[in-house]
């Protein structure tokens, strides 16, 4: 269905090819997973399939890419639209119309599909993705998960034989991600659609894949093969695979179900003693009492009361739209409470001047690039020093701590990788040394390496007396990092307790290791590895 024939692609002006010597055949009806670190060329590979690379981006393509027998060099993306459907990382940025139903029909209208066929296919897409009740809703009023499903439906309704998705679950909560993946596997199994998918959170998808393409980056050709074979050696691997490697299981399990067959002997080896989590929380740094927040008539938070202490890492979890970001916005003072109080270090952040507020509490938003305006990394550091009236070099020192491997000062913030951009934004926030540090969805778009580095940095911050609060959907991050978990639902706190107890007893928030070794309460591969050693 898709064939890459010795494909090498170089962007205009780039010193080295983004992809080198890619030979790849994806047969019809397969789910092909593309994995690799940030910047290894995953998005480029996906965009080559529908011709956006090179037709839209420019650059030099050597070799041949054919999709359904059509050479992408000879066909523009619009002339491949009947064969390939594409879903981007940010669905909201790709919507052309205003209403769900029209969006689903848009590609078909362009292809000139007959009205009665179009009507039927829109209904099918509404059912397949379970979005029938949204049909007349304006697209901008939908939640992230709903938007993602509409985007998939819109790509699907045109009846393409290939569906290409770039990180379709990166902004979704675990339950919504499962819905989307269930819909995708149904397409592969029942309709024979060929799906090519790039994803960082392998724990969510690897068990559904028929084939894995691992891009090593740095110009080496990709490793292609069956998931178990590729995962055995891949530097990026989900916890279930790493646990399998540590415990020496063969064949290597890819799903929780496979792993649980081996679990009993491992549980016996590990015994009943759980590793102690040395967590001594310090003084209260932020106090939230009876907080209520409203957007118009909609109550976003209700009766929220919580104390946040020094030396602890608190994870705020919950569905899309449960009020996580709203809680962070109140803690940082972007919003003033409709009722109740938010006090950080004795003062209400919403009433402070911006330059005083940053010394008290800092927030790294979901898109860390928003915090960066400078022309270069150095420029960003000096501006932050000047504006915060800090000694010269403070921000640079913070940056070198966050990214120990260093970051060249001359680079433009928008040319950095996701992990580097997050690091720079975090350094800017940390320069003012606020006791309370908030991060909204920090692992979006981060690969496992960048994530591991983030965990180290945030742990160290908590150790030094900061209080770190993260709003996140990433259950594996929570397992690695959090001391305490708050679960929000519908604007109310439903659970507030130690991380191990909260996540191990939840079917939705449990990390893979906890699911495999349940009822024992192990959270991470590192814990198991240390216990076995």
């Amino acid at each position: 269905m898709i064939r890459f024939d010795r494909v090498t692609f170089t962007y205009t002006g780039a010193p080295a090819p983004a992809l080198r010597d890619v030979d790849l055949v994806v047969p019809e009806g397969e789910l092909c997973l593309v994995v690799g670190r940030t910047g290894s060329g995953k998005s480029t590979l996906l965009r080559l399939i529908n011709g956006l690379v090179p037709h839209f981006t420019g650059g030099l393509l050597v070799g041949r890419v054919t999709v359904g027998g059509r050479d992408t060099q000879a066909f523009a993306p619009r002339d491949l639209a009947d064969v390939v459907g594409v879903v981007g990382q940010d669905p909201a940025a790709t919507f052309v119309t205003d209403v769900v139903e029209d969006e689903l029909a848009y590609a078909m209208e362009n292809l000139g599909v007959a009205p009665d066929v179009m009507r039927r296919r829109v209904e099918d897409a509404l059912d397949l993705l379970a979005i029938a009740d949204l049909r007349t809703r304006p697209l901008r009023a939908l939640s992230g998960g709903e938007q993602q499903r509409v985007a998939i439906g819109a790509a699907l309704a045109a009846g393409p034989r290939v569906l290409v998705l770039d990180e379709p679950t990166s902004s979704l909560d675990p339950a919504a991600a499962d819905d989307v993946l269930a819909a995708l596997t149904r397409l592969v199994h029942d309709l024979g659609v060929t799906v090519v998918l790039a994803e960082h959170r392998l724990e969510r998808v690897v068990q559904y894949a028929d084939r894995v393409v691992q891009l090593p980056g740095n110009g080496a050709p990709p490793v292609v093969g069956a998931p178990a074979d590729v995962m055995a050696t891949s530097p990026v691997a989900p916890p279930v695979v790493r646990l399998g490697r540590v415990a020496g299981w063969t064949p290597l399990p890819l799903s929780i179900r496979d792993a649980r067959r081996h679990a009993q002997p491992l549980r016996d080896r590990l015994g009943a003693d759980l590793p102690p989590r040395l967590h001594v929380a310090g003084d209260v740094v932020a106090h939230v009492h009876d907080l209520e927040a409203r957007y118009g008539d909609v109550v976003a938070l209700r009766d929220v009361g919580v104390d946040l202490r020094r030396n602890e890492v608190v994870a705020v979890m919950g569905r899309n739209g449960a009020g996580k970001s709203t809680l962070l916005a109140h803690l940082v003072g972007l919003r003033a409470p409709a009722r109740g109080t938010v006090v950080v270090d004795g003062r209400a952040p919403a009433s402070l001047k911006p330059r005083d507020a940053v010394r008290l509490v800092g927030l790294v938003p979901q898109d860390p690039g928003l915090l960066l305006y400078g022309e270069s990394v150095d420029d960003e550091c000096t501006t932050a020093d000047r504006e915060g009236a800090l000694p010269t070099g403070t921000t640079r020192a913070a940056l070198d701590r966050v990214l120990p491997e260093g970051l060249e000062g001359g680079r433009h913030p928008s040319d950095l990788s996701e992990g580097q951009r997050l690091g720079l934004a975090l350094a800017v926030v940390l320069a003012s040394a606020p006791p309370l540090v908030l991060l909204d969805e920090p692992t979006r778009g981060l690969d496992y390496n960048a994530k591991a580095r983030l965990v180290t940095v945030l742990r160290a911050l908590a150790g030094e007396g900061h209080c770190v609060v993260l709003a996140t959907h990433d259950v594996e991050l929570v397992a690695e990092l959090a001391d305490r978990v708050l679960v929000l639902a519908d604007g109310e706190i439903v659970t507030d307790g130690p991380a191990r107890e909260v996540v191990c007893h939840s079917p939705v928030f449990a990390p893979q290791v906890a699911k495999i070794l349940s009822p024992s309460e192990w959270l991470t591969v590192a814990e198991v590895e240390a216990a076995l050693a």
Binding site: N50, L52, F56, A76, P77, R78, D79, A81, D82, V84, G85, V86, G88, D90, A93, T94, F95, V96, T97, D98, V99, E101, D102, A105, Y106, A107, M108, E109, N110, L111, G112, V113, A114, P115, M118, R119, V122, P138, A141, A154, A155, A158, V332, G333, L334, K353, P354, R355, A357, V358, G362, L363, P365, L370, L371, Y373, A384, E387, V428, V429
Partner: protein
């Protein structure tokens, strides 16, 4: 599922209401029109974002009305009559004849400005009403095939404004997080570039998405067909050019006027049809023109006829005198024209 009225029918209705408003300065008729517009909008608008445009346009109309009054008081023509208060007047040089600065302000002058401003305000409100009632994207869907791509360009351009507002809010929040002032001049400085960058990024993403979804696909047409379309359009433009000469220049031969205009329209229509053949688009659930649409169209035409007749029968009632200032009369035919604007309520359903 509630069927929405064809957007073209709403536009016919709005044009008729605006025509009625343009033809009169009688505040009684204009007040009746505002009541009709507000009632129809309140009863038939949906919860979609664009349905709020009526409120926005009414606010704009009030600003226009207030500006008209202030201008009249400060620099307006000095009409004789009962003086309300006196402003210190400034003598202007002879070349500024007709403009006065300050001087006595009379009830008559204020009334004249109010009547005139009210008329403009009602026309603006009509525009707001139709934007609330007919979703803008559905209007663009009614365009002929050859103009479709221009229509999409308009949709994208129109969505730019709300996107820019969202981006602006996010950039301001980010500035607050960096500890920069968000108020005053210092708060505005340096906002432009990030907002523009965001909008540009979105445009590029959108263009990629549209390309990937088949936007701009062409049917293969014979060179003959393509040439016919181009030739008809060029000839039509030329004819339009000549016709405008004929119509505007009284010395030109009569054949150059209306007949040439008719020819131009025919040629351009032919060009559109032939050009539309290259577009292979089909329509998803096109709006249909049924009995309700006919009823609304008939009401619109009748309303325009009513106001025209009313103007012939009793012109003074439509333009009540402000000097001497009299109590405005109640012209029943003109009120009936406004009341015909309620017809859509009878032939459409309440949206959910």
């Amino acid at each position: 599922m509630v069927r929405a009225l064809h957007p073209a029918a709403w536009w016919l209705w709005a044009v008729a209401m605006a025509t009625v408003a343009m033809r009169t300065t009688n505040p009684v008729v204009l007040a009746a029109l505002v009541a009709v517009l507000a009632y129809v909008v309140a009863a038939r608008r949906t919860s979609a974002p664009w349905a709020r445009s009526f409120g926005a346009f009414v606010r704009l109309a009030l600003v226009v009305l207030a500006a008209r009054l202030v201008l009249q008081v400060v620099v307006g023509q000095r009409l004789p009559g009962h003086t309300v208060f006196d402003l210190p007047s400034v003598d202007l040089p002879a070349w500024a004849a007709g403009v006065s600065l300050g001087g006595p302000v009379t009830v008559e002058a204020i009334a004249a400005a109010l009547y005139d401003g009210l008329r403009l305000a009602v026309v603006l409100a009509t525009f707001g009403a139709v934007n609330s009632l007919a979703a803008p994207h559905r209007v663009l869907r009614c365009l002929p095939g050859a103009l479709y791509e221009a229509g999409v360009a308009v949709t994208v351009a129109v969505s730019f404004a709300p996107e820019a507002v969202t981006t602006l809010a996010r950039v301001r929040e980010a500035r607050r997080l960096r500890g920069r002032p968000t108020r005053g001049i210092a708060g505005v400085r340096g906002l432009g570039l990030p907002v523009l960058e965001g909008a540009l990024q979105r445009s590029v993403d959108l263009a990629a998405s549209m390309d990937a979804r088949g936007y701009g696909r062409r049917a293969t047409v014979t060179t003959g067909e393509a040439r016919t379309a181009t030739a008809a359009t060029v000839a039509g433009m030329l004819a339009l050019f000549l016709a405008s000469y004929g119509l505007l220049d009284s010395a030109s031969p009569g054949a150059l006027g209306l007949p040439m205009l008719a020819l131009a329209v025919a040629l351009l229509a032919g060009g559109l049809v032939a050009g539309g053949r290259r577009a292979i688009r089909s329509r998803y659930r096109p709006d249909r023109w049924l009995a309700s649409e006919w009823a609304v169209a008939a009401a619109a035409v009748t309303a325009v006829a009513c106001i025209a007749v009313a103007g012939r029968v009793d012109p003074a009632a439509l333009r009540p005198s402000t000097n001497p200032l009299v109590w405005p009369p109640v012209p029943l035919l003109a009120i009936a024209a406004a009341a015909l604007g309620l017809v859509p309520l009878a032939v459409t359903d309440t949206p959910r």
